[in-house]
Subunit: 331 residues, 2 copies
């Protein structure tokens, strides 16, 4: 194991550094060993939506995903941008479940893209279906019905929540229901853990180091959905899709709010946890791409190119490039 | 002078720390002495819109502000939210100047408030008048005409830009036109300087430590406008207004993008520069309020109350409070 200083991400304006983000990046294997840590692997934080691939186990293992295609499984793991195709899938899924949009616990939101936002404002305003977690909530609605408790899926004591927390307990080697708990932006329970634990959970998931064949089949199905449909996971052409394309599917990933990214590397049995310490979205994908280069999952020049491509430049209000976001080389 | 570690601002979810911001806070007097520094007073960055009170000297000293009321002077210093009263003032000012909205160099934007954004989307979309700097741009349009060069006010070589840069040079004791330069979000020149220099400039401005009576009259007028109309400077009920109200006008302030706040304390002849190192907006006002308490400009309990009041709590999408933003006590 190497232990190294926090990675830095510079925000430059006209060539002068204006702001600096500190990151933490941890790589673990399925044995729970921390192979690399830049910054403190013991940092406790919330992986937020990066836990969705674990939460989707409630959907798949409850039997509620039978007959669902892989695009819907990806949507259940998504922090989407409410692009029209994603909203249409949510609407179709709700119709299939026979539930109204108001059954989604996630609150009303606007789509993230500017054009979609304008269309939504003109069409009537915020909707629960536009919330970036609405696919996950469809998954929980489906699982809740399959568990025989259609209502109240947001409670930490609901079987649909208890199920994935038990699976996570196996992966991190301690009781997930005892982890520090908060409430996520969408109203569901959020759990805190160390970066090392998050990376270990991802490694065991990626390596299929799992208790039984049933879970192995479920995880295989979810990982395959994330690899097949990275555009569903976030949005078309977004960084998640760029990373999967650049690695030709050898790396799949799920981002979370407050600067989190969780990477799954099945062929090497590795998990990668990245956090921007201050919670910024900016910089996290450049740092993730930089780690891929360091691990030899991409050639150095391709990793550097990807790190540039996944970060939007600093623009002025006339859309001229006036700065850049740059992940410095890892120590 | 005290020299102390960087201030920390914690973002907590359900009582657990999720993310941490580091700040820098510097207090200087009109003699250029750094009286207090938490973090590195030599940190170089862009004060961004915190420079607007200096930029407004071009408006006032060109003679273009004759006949303008103090609300318009405050709007020229504003980073506003395009609330309807602010947009109406911009429209009225353009009409008075006989210029179309397209003469504003700042790019099209949406209002910041959600209701105003929805109204704007329904009414036709982004507008230059909605840009948070449109008041400043009206000021520069007016100044440019008064300087006899109505076009091209965005150029660093335009007399309207050269004028305020010369005034700033007096305040920081070196040639402002030689400072590292970038382009601001609104398309105008942005200058970088150290936190100590920014605090010194604010102190000399607040103390009226100025080269002549003409500048003294101009600065008095601008400071008075900022004190009288803090709601114009940002938006009604926003943190800027809360700080001015809490200090009964003894402190005026101007925030900038990327985590900057500049404070002016005329009665003590002090300047206060605050920067969140990572550029976050979150936390900067709590840190500023905490510094006011430390300087005795507010009693400790009032400063703590203000620090809580100026930071929005962490909400979920159903508007339930699920966390908080807390400035830790200064070392």
């Amino acid at each position: 194991m190497t232990d190294a200083p926090s990675p830095l991400i510079e925000v430059r304006r006209g060539g002068t550094v204006e702001s600096v983000h500190r990151g933490v990046a941890v790589v673990a294997d399925a044995g729970g060993r921390v192979l690399h840590a830049w910054g403190d692997p013991g940092l406790l934080t919330f992986p937020r939506s990066s836990l969705k691939p674990f939460q989707a186990l409630s959907l798949v293992e409850s039997g509620a995903a039978e007959g669902l295609d892989s695009a819907h499984l990806a949507l259940a793991c998504a922090s989407h941008r409410a692009e029209p195709f994603q909203v249409a899938m949510v609407e179709g899924w709700l119709a299939r479940l026979g539930r109204p949009e108001s059954a989604l616990v996630c609150g009303p939101a606007f789509p993230m893209g500017e054009g979609d936002l304008v269309d939504a404002a003109r069409a009537g305003g915020k909707r629960r279906a536009f919330h970036n977690c609405s696919g996950k909530h469809c998954g929980f609605l489906a699982a809740a019905a399959a568990f025989g408790r259609p209502e109240g899926y947001e409670s930490p004591d609901h079987p649909a929540q208890r199920h994935w927390m038990a699976a996570l307990s196996d992966l991190i080697g301690r009781e997930a229901s005892a982890l520090p708990r908060g409430t996520d932006g969408c109203g569901l329970p959020a759990l805190a853990m160390t970066l090392a634990e998050a990376a270990q959970a991802a490694a065991r998931y990626a390596a299929l180091a799992l208790p039984d064949a049933r879970r192995e089949a479920a995880v295989r199905r979810i990982l395959e959905a994330m690899r097949e449909h990275p555009g569903h996971l976030s949005g078309r052409g977004r960084p998640t899709e760029q990373v999967v394309a650049a690695t030709e599917g050898r790396v799949v990933l799920k981002e979370g709010a407050e600067g989190f990214v969780l990477g799954f590397v099945p062929e090497r049995g590795l998990g990668i946890a990245v956090k921007i310490a201050d919670g910024a979205t900016r910089g996290k994908m450049a740092l993730f791409a930089t780690v891929l280069g360091r691990l030899g999952l991409l050639p150095a020049d391709r990793a550097a190119e990807l790190a540039r491509a996944v970060e939007a430049p600093v623009l002025d209000s006339n859309n001229r490039v006036v700065g850049e976001v740059v992940a410095l080389p890892l120590a």
